[in-house]
């Protein structure tokens, strides 16, 4: 375990984020879930995760759409705990609408969180990683970035934007032993999916060769694989984790 090393996960308290935080917990000194949660829900989340035996996981409030906030929160974490070894850009939202009815606001909200957020956060850790000559950046994209999706022109744009960013940054940082990759999950069994009408959910599952949704832990496992020291030659890559839904 890298006791003095820090792993950061944006959108860290969601179902996938939580699974990633738990997965990375044994590997690093401190694992920080960065997220926006109202009131004391962040503290409650942390208490619950700590209680499950993941003592080194903590919550910090951070809005990825604010460059200044990202600078302040991550700057403080680095000062307090040391080097950022891992950044998982996992924060994401959807605002689905067919394009013909999509408002500028729906477009902007999704782009600000999913794409600009990745810039705002990544920009804060690059210097720390370069100085240490080590680091792992993992960006969570989506199968719908690869194949497009009805009523998700905003979401698919933001998620496929991640690929160009990932490949460019990978080229910039490879000489410093820092890898940058993306993961494109298919449909994952999260709270978000539980809100979908059962018949629609079934029709989605029917399209997946695996005939089931992914579990959040199956995404977290792929994150662990990419941040492992032995994965040092994998960079600028995208890993599809979609049960065979889209092959390319």
């Amino acid at each position: 375990m890298k006791a003095d090393k820090l792993a950061l996960i944006t959108g860290g308290t969601g179902d996938i984020g939580t699974a990633i935080a738990k997965q990375l917990s044994p590997m690093f000194g401190h694992v920080v879930a960065l997220d926006i949660l109202p009131g004391n829900q962040g503290e409650l989340w942390q208490a619950s995760v700590n209680e499950q035996g993941f003592q080194n996981v903590m919550f910090r409030h951070m809005d990825v759409t604010s460059f200044e906030q990202c600078e302040a929160v991550i700057g403080k974490l680095i000062a307090e705990f040391g080097h950022v070894e891992v950044l998982v850009n996992n924060a994401g939202i959807t605002r689905d609408a067919v394009f013909n009815k999509m408002t500028k606001q729906q477009w902007d909200e999704v782009l600000r969180v999913n794409l600009d957020g990745m810039f705002n956060v990544t920009r804060q850790v690059v210097e720390s990683m370069r100085n240490q000559m080590s680091g792992r950046i993992v960006n969570i994209s989506s199968v719908n970035a690869q194949k497009g999706q009805f009523s998700q022109a905003n979401y698919a744009a933001s998620k496929s934007g991640i690929y160009g960013f990932t490949k460019s940054l990978a080229q910039e940082l490879m000489s410093k032993q820092i890898t940058v990759n993306s993961i494109s999950p298919g449909y994952v069994n999260t709270r978000l999916m539980k809100g979908i009408r059962p018949d629609i959910l079934q029709s989605i599952i029917d399209l997946i060769p695996a005939k089931r949704l992914a579990e959040p832990e199956e995404i977290a496992w792929v994150v662990e694989f990419l941040v492992d020291e032995k994965s040092r030659y994998i960079t600028g890559s995208n890993l599809s984790v979609n049960g065979g839904l889209h092959m390319y």
Binding site: F67, V98, F99, N100, M102, K104, W107, D108, L111, L115, D116, F119, N120, T122, R123, V126, E127, R130, N144, A145, Q146, K147, G148, Q149, F150, S151, Q152, A153, N154, Y155, A156, A157, S158, K159, S160, G161, I162, Y163, G164, F165, T166, K167, S168, L169, A170, Q171, E172, G236
Partner: protein, 246 residues
């Protein structure tokens, strides 16, 4: 029947001019122009085109401004009554490595290249749906496909076009509207004029065809996808890069 119309954003640039010229063969072409209201420059461009035998209309708008694009659409509709082809070609670069990239450098590129695609397409799509016909072609880049040092902002904006186009293609496939991207490689344009000769030679050494592309070669690809006969091609990306990235 009057001629179909084609709007080309960034129409006065290197590749934009070639697209406009090529499309005048079959369409009434409208070039969109924005450089902080420097209309004299645009008029000079328009005169040059006319002298060369290309009759191109010109409209002014800030592509990154939604209200501007709304007005532009209304103006073109008033003049011509229909919009059949939209070429999202406007783009800028603001290169720097991520560790030095400012928030402003990120945002300017995302807004000019990507938000502009939303703004124009969102305003023009209803007009196309009404007539059950349309061709939407967005100019991406080889660097949106493969990434490039110093272009985290540019490559993000360009690769975002792929997810956008594939999603929209699915939505409007039954309405006679196709949505595609073209990813040019390195093309001989004023944008490349500033690149040092040895750097340029290094780039050319990596292109299997052994030379830079011509703007007219991108324009041919645009004309192909824009044609009525290309109605079964949608959600696709067409690389025009001399074999540099496959």
């Amino acid at each position: 029947m009057d001629k179909m119309t084609a709007i080309v954003t960034g129409g006065t640039g290197g590749i934009g001019s070639a697209i406009c010229q090529r499309l005048t063969r079959d369409y009434k072409v409208i070039a969109c122009y924005f450089k902080n209201g420097k209309h004299d420059e645009a008029k000079r461009w328009q005169d040059e085109q006319r002298q060369a035998g290309f009759d191109i209309d010109i409209v002014y708008a800030d592509m990154a401004n939604f209200a501007d694009c709304e007005k532009l659409t209304a103006l073109v509709m008033e003049r011509y009554g229909h919009i059949d082809v939209l070429i999202n070609n406007a783009g800028i670069t603001c290169d720097t490595t991520l560790r030095k990239m400012t928030s402003l450098q990120w945002q300017q590129v995302i807004d000019a290249n990507l938000t502009s695609v939303f703004n124009m397409t969102r305003n023009i799509l209803p007009v196309m749906i009404e007539r059950n016909y349309g061709r939407i072609i967005t100019i991406s880049s080889i660097n949106g496909r493969k990434g490039q040092i110093g272009q985290c902002n540019y490559a993000a904006s360009k690769s975002a076009m792929f997810g956008f186009s594939k999603s929209l293609a699915q939505e409007v496939a039954r309405k006679g509207i196709t949505v595609n991207t073209i990813s040019p490689g390195y093309i001989e344009t004023p944008m490349l004029a500033d690149v040092k000769e040895e750097v340029l030679n290094g780039i050319i050494a990596n292109i299997p065809v052994g030379r830079l592309g011509k703007s007219s070669e991108v324009a041919e690809a645009v004309a192909f996808l824009a044609s009525v006969d290309s109605g079964f091609i949608t959600g696709a990306n067409l690389d025009v890069n001399g074999g540099q990235y496959m």
